[in-house]
């Protein structure tokens, strides 16, 4: 039993116990099990992390076989756990941030009748995600990949009495299955061409993928893997499910749809980097898709009115950054941004959750304002997170974003072609936009005076489901509505995450400050994983240029937001066509409905009418009809008169005799 077994086992046990007995447990009982499971997993993950941290680079990978699943001749499928710097980092993020969100949820979900169910699913998610990152082969990665999709489905549709939530859950599941299919095809190809699914062949400890397959095959594998990433990590063209996933409870958005599950794609690209390194086409596709998505989502985020949707598009945009970083070989930067993003985006969601909680479920920023005076802690944590994501030094986001941007520039400068200059420019523009929409959010929520009219239900659709609302909302409608700071169990995780958002980036590279050039502990830590990758370094001057521009644009974005919204957020309808285009999220959902869903529905209805009626049913109905017809004829023979039968017997006997006589 390695330590990783325990990391996996704890949340699994929590899930099983809660699933079987949760209904009968008191709230305290549920919390003890759920917190205990996740907390112990975090503890074991920490132990694992430090065991890797202390190890010399050449022994930083421990691959343990746990169980052989299938043995058939030479063919073997085994379940092994891989502990290396990459999986240790991921496990720390998953269990650590996961544990904080577990704490927070106790306050957020306090009044919900599905309390135990929520924590049961949460533990299940932690298990599935830990399985995804600690499996040592593609098959169990796929299993984890599918299970986190299931957890996501269950938690998006957690409030299953509400129709939008159920629709969003289905949308997420369907789109993710497209990605899962890509992953499956990629795995089949890997198996055919490399003969194994393990990342490392066990005895030799060398990467399986160092042996080359035909280039086109490698490219196909990489593109299929990346298709899976675009679905799971909400990149173009499969990003549509993530904004809708905001229908789930806010802690779910924080844990699954910001900090951990959506980063699985980033992890997969980093894990499969020996393959991606062999295919420049695939890597360029990763970079371009990442860049386009980053800008695309950022522009949408600028115009959203629902605070959670702003954060959702912001997540898509930041994930695009990570892929951009990986697209220029800087996997370390991608994983680094993943880590810091987990801190500040979880913090943003949790702070937004505290606001939503205080306003009894209100998510529209037009109905907010002035909360700074009532919610001090939330204001400060939200502000820190906003500064972090805007890339303002010394907050966490600055360091990771800066590494990605300077890698892009370096790739362009060292002969990578114009493409990477364009991507670098896109990254800078996105950085400015990010700062703008985040501070638009900050001012809309916290500045000026409260604009709301008291308890208002969340969305239009909700008004129909008013009866089934959570008790908190019902109590609000009874007139006991007041804006209050969240309870301690919610603010403590906020403060911890805020601390991480401030200092979490300091493990990054300080290359731009000459005297600290040797300080890059995070890259050092991950270096055993990415040993075979060479990252292009930009000259110091270019690095300063990139850093200066990104910080400058970030500050500019904040300044513009301050100019526009410092006196409070005013929403004005704008008839400008471009404005309307972005406001309606480029009409992607509408276009998809018209191009894909309507034709599919039409095909279904037509098939129902034509095929089902006469062609398919016709066959089975025809068989019955034929049998009935023939038996109606045959029954005539059965007259019931004995002499007819006797005659038939006689006739038969005569025939037989004649046959023998004629034959001789």
């Amino acid at each position: 039993m390695t330590i990783l077994t325990w990391v996996l086992l704890m949340p699994l046990l929590g899930f099983i116990i809660l699933g079987l007995t949760g209904r009968a447990l008191s709230r305290t009982g549920v919390l003890i099990i759920a917190w205990g499971a996740c907390g112990l997993a975090f503890l074991f993950a920490t132990v694992a992390f430090f065991s890797v941290l202390g190890a010399p680079p050449d022994s930083a990978r421990i691959d343990t076989m746990v169980y052989t699943w299938v043995t058939s001749g030479d063919f073997q499928l085994s379940f092994g756990l891989l502990l290396d710097p990459l999986s240790a980092t991921m496990l720390m993020v998953i269990t650590g941030v996961g544990f904080l969100i577990h704490l927070y949820s106790a306050g957020y979900m306090e009044d919900d009748p599905g309390f135990w169910r929520f924590f049961c699913f949460f533990n299940f998610f932690i298990f599935a995600m830990a399985l995804l990152v600690s499996a040592d082969n593609f098959l169990f990665l796929l299993i984890g990949w599918a299970l986190v999709g299931l957890a996501s489905f269950l938690l998006i549709g957690f409030w299953c009495q509400r129709r939008p939530a159920v629709a969003a859950a289905q949308k997420a599941l369907v789109i993710n299955v497209i990605g899962d299919f890509g992953l499956m095809l990629a795995i089949f190809l890997i198996f055919t061409h490399y003969g194994t699914l393990n990342y490392f062949s066990n005895d030799l400890g060398v990467g399986v993928f160092d042996q080359a397959a035909p280039g086109s095959i490698t490219t196909a594998i990489c593109l299929l893997l990346f298709l899976a990433c675009t679905a799971k990590s909400a990149q173009l063209p499969l990003y549509m499910w993530l904004p809708d996933a905001m229908e789930g409870p806010t802690p779910v958005s924080a844990l699954i749809h910001a900090a951990t599950m959506v980063t699985a794609g980033v992890y997969l690209v980093a894990r499969a980097h020996p393959l991606f390194e062999q295919s420049h086409l695939a890597l360029n596709v990763v970079a371009v898709i990442g860049g386009v998505t980053a800008l695309f989502a950022a522009t949408i985020a600028v115009f959203q009115l629902d605070i959670k949707r702003v954060l959702a598009y912001s997540t898509i945009s930041q994930l695009g950054y990570m892929f951009m970083g990986e697209g220029v070989h800087n996997y370390t930067a991608g994983i680094f941004h993943l880590t810091t993003h987990a801190y500040f985006k979880a913090l943003l969601f949790l702070s937004a959750g505290a606001v939503i909680h205080a306003l009894n479920g209100e998510q529209d920023m037009r109905e907010m304002g002035g909360l700074r005076k009532r919610m001090h802690i939330t204001f400060w944590t939200f502000l820190i997170a906003a500064l972090a994501i805007s890339g303002i030094p010394p907050f966490a986001g600055f360091w990771s974003k800066d590494e990605i941007l300077s890698s892009l520039l370096a790739q362009g400068a060292s002969g990578g072609g114009r493409l990477f200059y364009v991507l670098w420019a896109i990254g800078l523009v996105t950085a400015g936009l990010t700062a703008f929409y985040m501070f638009r959010l900050v001012f809309a929520i916290f500045a000026d005076n409260y604009r709301g009219t008291g308890p208002v239900s969340r969305t239009r659709e909700d008004q129909e489901d008013e009866e089934e609302e959570a008790p908190a909302r019902r109590r609000a409608q009874a007139g006991r509505f007041y804006i209050h700071e969240a309870p301690g169990i919610m603010t403590i995780p906020l403060i911890i995450l805020a601390g991480l958002s401030v200092v979490g980036g300091l493990v990054g590279s300080f290359g731009i400050f000459g005297i600290f050039a040797a300080w890059h502990p995070f890259a050092n830590f991950l270096s055993p994983v990415f040993m075979d990758v060479t990252i292009r370094e930009a000259s110091l001057r270019l690095q300063w240029l990139s850093t200066g521009l990104s910080v400058g644009l970030g500050l500019l974005g904040i300044l513009v937001a301050w100019r526009l919204y410092r006196r409070g957020f005013q929403y004005k309808e704008n008839k400008n066509e471009l404005y309307q285009l972005v406001m309606h999220k480029y009409y992607v959902d509408e276009i998809l409905t018209a191009l894909l869903i309507q034709p599919l529905l039409w095909i279904g209805r037509t098939a129902d009418r034509l095929l089902e009626g006469d062609m398919l049913d016709g066959g089975s109905r025809g068989v019955g009809w034929l049998l009935r017809g023939t038996s109606a004829l045959l029954r005539r023979l059965q007259t019931g008169y004995m002499r007819n039968y006797a005659l038939a017997i006689l006739f038969g006997v005569v025939l037989i005799i004649v046959y023998y006589v004629v034959r001789g």
Binding site: L634, Q638, T639, G640, Y641, R643, L647
Partner: protein, 101 residues
């Protein structure tokens, strides 16, 4: 003078045909039974003829078995006829067509 085997067989065939005809055309079950007996005895006759012709006792053994079976059959058959007569007051075979499909 020895009577040739073929004569016996011809008599046997004639008897058998008479029996078959009786079974097919008569409507009284008692007569049908008699006709069946006629058929059985036609067969018995050919058995005995063959037995003597081949100098073997096998044929005679068969005759005894056939006689036993015939007796048993008549017992059962007559019992059925009596019970049908009791319920329907009529034993015309043309009225007995309950098993018509």
């Amino acid at each position: 003078m020895q009577i040739p085997l073929s004569w016996y067989l011809i008599v046997s065939a004639i008897l058998f045909t008479v029996g078959v005809t009786g079974v097919l055309i008569r409507r009284n079950p008692l007569i049908i039974f008699m006709s069946i007996e006629l058929m059985l005895n036609a067969v018995n006759l050919s058995f005995v003829a063959f037995s003597s012709y081949l100098d073997s006792a096998d044929g005679q053994m068969f005759v005894f078995i056939v006689l036993t079976v015939a007796a048993a059959e008549v017992v059962v058959g007559l019992a059925i006829i009596v019970s049908i007569f009791r319920t329907r007051r009529n034993i015309d075979v043309d009225d007995m067509n309950l098993l018509r499909g």
